[in-house]
């Protein structure tokens, strides 16, 4: 439930306010960092607070252990790095922990050392994505009550020629219109994973009107190769 937020000095923090169904909520127009004090571990800013706060779900006692299969993966990852520098495996192993658990509890971080929820949706900065807020009913930084979706606004996802786009967990959904997003969210709600990629008919990053380059079949090995090799 939306709550009014007070900064520690007890002064009401006035951001950009708007009313939804008669309840006041604190929101910034582009999901920028908001200072607020919540009772729950709810988020501020684009993707969450950057400081851990213990809650009943997420504290150093939260049970987390790598499965035996994943422990083998951890070993394989650690072996990629030279002796004396095994600290380098931090990020890949944390990522593995997140994939196993669905999100990363502080106890897992303490075992190794980022937070996420089951379906992380992240639109990038290139084109405004306001209709995502409306359809899912949540705002940037929030999670839906069924804990299925979290909305995070990130800075850049590296798919600029396919904008507007979102990243949902590991998949990029590109070239979107509002109706596409509704379709995607409905499919996810139904428990299916929609196929990633552009939704406007093109295959990847080629010009939508038709190929302007690479119209001939690619040359085979040895074409153009110098004679003295």
């Amino acid at each position: 439930t939306p709550t009014l937020c007070f900064c520690p000095l007890g002064i009401l923090f006035m951001g950009f306010m708007y009313s939804k169904c008669g309840q006041w909520e604190l929101k910034t127009s582009t999901g920028r960092q908001v200072r607020s004090l919540h009772q729950s571990a709810a988020r501020a800013g684009g993707a969450g607070l950057f400081v851990h706060r213990d809650t009943t779900d997420n504290n150093p006692e939260t049970p987390f252990e790598f499965t035996p299969e994943n422990l083998k993966r951890v070993e394989a990852i650690i072996n990629n790095y030279p002796q004396g520098h095994k600290q380098a495996a931090t990020i890949p192993v944390l990522d593995l922990a997140q994939r196993q658990h669905g999100w990363l509890p502080i106890s897992a971080m303490n075992k190794v050392r980022t937070k996420g929820n089951r379906h992380e949706q992240t639109p990038c900065l290139s084109k405004p994505f306001h209709f995502l807020f409306l359809h899912s009913g949540i705002k940037v930084g929030e999670t839906t009550p069924d804990k299925l979706f979290t909305l995070a606004e990130v800075e850049c996802l590296g798919a600029c020629v396919n904008a507007p786009m979102v990243q949902i967990n590991d998949n990029y959904y590109e070239d979107l219109k509002p109706s596409d997003i509704e379709q995607i969210l409905d499919e996810l709600n139904a428990g299916r994973v929609p196929p990633p990629g552009p939704r406007n008919g093109r295959f990847s990053c080629e010009p939508a009107g038709g190929l302007t380059s690479l119209t001939e079949p690619p040359p085979g090995p040895g074409v153009g190769v110098r004679a003295d090799l």
Partner: protein, 497 residues
């Protein structure tokens, strides 16, 4: 257009092979001879008599469009098989053993002759950079680190290489690694590119399975390993020293240079950090010859480049084109032209958000290469074009870019951490007009205090977009927009009062 090169006695001969003409007067007063008039764009042989100097090759004046057989990334659009079988059929891994056996000096020479410049944004001559590693070993292994972080807003080219043509990158790692005497390559790919890194890892596994890398790579006797390391979503980790820190498992905070990575890099060992595209074109350069690559583009700006064209164009796309192609031709030929026609163009950011934007009158005839854009007081960067038409609120666009830099600042040094946040707050007030006219000069001064005073170039990248709003001999029409907005806001406030 031919320019006189200073020889006092010249005669012009048409390439069709006309007879010897009498010597023409000295360079200062050349009267045009109707019988040797030239049409624009034709190439003419300049024959110098009474001189032992070498004849010059005719200088190329028209750049682009590229023919398909000259394109390096033949599976850019993913229509063919990206795995080993498909890669082999497209010419990858062909005679790699012979290239490796030619040795370090040969490979480095080919890269130098090709004139390849770094494709990650800085444009440093690659042959020179890789040559810094060509020193006797002091016991520490050398490493190649491939920068696949691709965080620059506007850029999405390395993604296509890694998911559609990963074997070019793997082979490139081997060839580049050999050129530097490296023991292994770490490809640092941004965490968001899960599917791309997955394709890349499959390609690496296939290469290991076929004996192309690993022990005795390609049967040449050289051992070489390739590892993929996924990042976790930080733009600053695209900076080479921050990337090295991140690989080492620490926070991605840039180091001071010197010491340079070629002396002290990843795990304390000599390292070269190179962009994906730079490494991926190396085998093709070695196979087809450095002179072939140097045949594209202007002098010192040679080769082909992947361009990303996004924004207010009709068909945004990624395309491989010749360097020095005119901006207008690039947009019109491949991106379907500007939305609403060329006259609807306001400005273009030519190389990712860290490069200053160029206004319409510069866009009309600027060439897309390093030197041409430096002359236009911007830079080629990663060749990620962001096209903005007249419907753009340019102040809001720049404000959003500064917000990006503010979020992505690592926080190590004060000018960036404090200064970029300060600029960000000011810019958002400029968007509304809630400022005083004197603050326009203040933000200029602020950006000058940040630029050049930071540990890494993120500070510069944040300062330059702001500077472009001021009429320092470049953009004359954005300051008036800012001032008029301030005046409007003031009027509204007074009307309320």
């Amino acid at each position: 257009m031919l320019s006189c090169v200073g020889c006092p006695v010249l005669s012009r001969v048409l390439s069709g092979g006309a007879s010897r003409l009498p010597a023409v007067a000295a360079a200062a007063s050349r009267t045009p001879n109707p019988s040797t008039s030239l049409s624009a764009g034709s190439s003419v042989a300049l024959v110098r008599y009474n001189t032992t100097a070498q004849q010059e090759k005719p200088k190329k004046t028209k750049f682009g469009p590229l023919a398909d057989q000259d394109r390096i990334f033949t599976n850019l659009y993913g229509r063919h098989d990206w795995r080993l079988k498909g890669a082999l059929s497209r010419g990858d891994w062909y005679k790699t053993k012979e290239i490796l056996e030619k040795g370090v000096d040969w490979i480095l020479n080919e890269i130098k002759v090709s004139g390849l410049r770094g494709r990650g944004g800085a444009g440093f001559p690659t042959g020179m950079k890789w040559g810094f590693m060509n020193k006797p070993s002091d016991g520490r292994p050398k490493y190649l680190v491939v920068n696949a972080d691709e965080g620059e807003p506007g850029t999405c080219k390395d993604r296509e290489i890694m998911r559609n043509d990963p074997h070019k990158l793997v082979e490139g790692c081997l060839v580049a690694g050999r050129a530097m005497g490296a023991r292994a390559a770490y490809i640092y790919i941004r965490g968001e590119f899960y599917n791309e890194s997955s394709n890349l890892q499959v390609a690496i596994n296939e290469a290991y399975g076929a004996g192309l890398i690993g022990k005795n790579a390609c049967g040449s006797g050289y051992d070489f390993d390739v590892f993929v390391m996924r990042g976790a979503g930080a733009y600053i980790c695209g900076e080479e020293t921050a990337l090295i820190e991140s690989i080492e498992g620490k926070q991605g905070k840039p180091r001071l240079k010197p010491p340079f990575p070629a002396d002290v890099g990843v795990f304390g060992c000599p390292t070269t950090v190179a962009n994906v595209e730079t490494v991926a074109v190396a085998p093709t350069i070695c196979r087809r010859g450095g002179t072939w690559f140097a045949g594209f583009g202007r002098e010192r700006n040679s080769g082909t480049k992947l361009f990303n064209i996004s924004g207010h164009v009709n068909t945004p796309c990624t395309v491989e084109e010749e360097m020095s192609i005119p901006l207008k031709e690039l947009i019109e030929r491949h991106a379907g032209g500007v939305r609403g026609g060329w006259d609807n163009l306001l400005c273009v950011i030519p190389g990712g958000s860290s490069t200053p934007l160029i206004p319409r009158h510069v866009c009309d005839d600027v060439m897309m290469d390093f030197d041409g854009l430096i002359q236009a007081q911007t830079g080629l960067g990663t060749a990620a074009l962001i096209v903005m038409d007249k419907s753009t609120d340019v102040i809001r666009a720049i404000a959003r870019l500064i917000e990006f830099y503010k979020h992505e600042s690592c926080g190590q040094c004060t000018p960036c951490r404090e200064g970029v946040d300060w600029m960000n707050k000011m810019m958002w007030r400029f968007v509304k007009g809630d400022a005083r006219a004197a603050e326009i000069d203040m933000i200029w001064e602020l950006s000058k205090q940040i630029e050049g005073h930071t540990i890494c170039a993120l500070g510069d990248g944040a300062a330059w977009p702001v500077q472009i709003l001021l009429p320092q001999g470049l953009i004359r029409h954005f300051r008036p927009i800012m001032e008029s907005r301030i005046a409007e806001f003031e009027q509204k406030q007074q009307a309320k009062a």
